[in-house]
Amino acid sequence: MSEHKKISIVCFSGDFDKIVAAYTIATGAAATNREVTMFFTFWGLNALKKKKGHSWLGKDFLSRMFNFLMGGLKSLPLSRLNFAGVSPKLMTGMMKKNNVATLPELIEAADALGIRVYACEMAMQILGVTKDDLVDSVQEVVGVATFLNESEDAHIIFI
């Protein structure tokens, strides 16, 4: 058995293009024999919500407002030139046209490759999001200490 190189990716951004970058690195790394952990925090949590559009998650007025405005996987904005949400759809069309894997395809590949997905306890607390609100591929809700322990001898990438 060859030794395992490790990569940990902090998915802080909830921007469509940055999440695509995170999943591209993650799946590429897992497919080339690396052990991969993705740690989703703050805006990044939007990519993990079961409800992929705009929904009123949360337990108080502010968290419900935030979650509704941020939305889920299908409402991630492009980091530049978003044009009120039109651009991510155009970009997905361009990706398909050029045989580049779309975000749902990358996420499916990440699941198939057994990439470890963690969600940040603290950010979930602030936003009033529970583990039940997140997709089943989330293995655990953890804090920064667990993430750092798991990433002890890994390259850490912050996106």
């Binding site: 058995m1 060859s2 591209t24 690195i25 799946t27 590429g28 897992a30 497919a31 080339t32 024999n33 050029n98 045989n99 580049v100 894997a101 395809e105 990358l106 590949a109 198939a112 490759l113």
Partner: protein, 74 residues
């Protein structure tokens, strides 16, 4: 012999498809991969070897498109 054509795939799905296909196979089985020169040709065989698989052959398909045929043994 299993078969996989990744010439229409781009990074990172080139690696992902090969990895997942090999994961589905039994030890001792062989996989024929058709891939493009450049990044896939440089890195797919190498990453298979890193995972402990054996590269039995790499040959140019001689179709003028730079396609190559790689045989991997799990």
């Amino acid at each position: 012999m299993h078969f996989l054509d990744i010439t229409r795939e781009t990074c990172p799905m080139t690696f992902v498809k090969v990895k997942l296909q090999l994961a589905r196979m039994d030890v001792g089985e062989e996989l024929e991969v058709i891939l493009n020169e450049g990044e896939p040709l440089q890195n797919v065989p190498r990453s298979c070897e890193e995972q402990g698989y054996q590269i039995l052959s790499v040959e140019n398909c001689d179709d003028g498109d730079g396609k190559h045929r790689v045989i991997v043994k799990k």
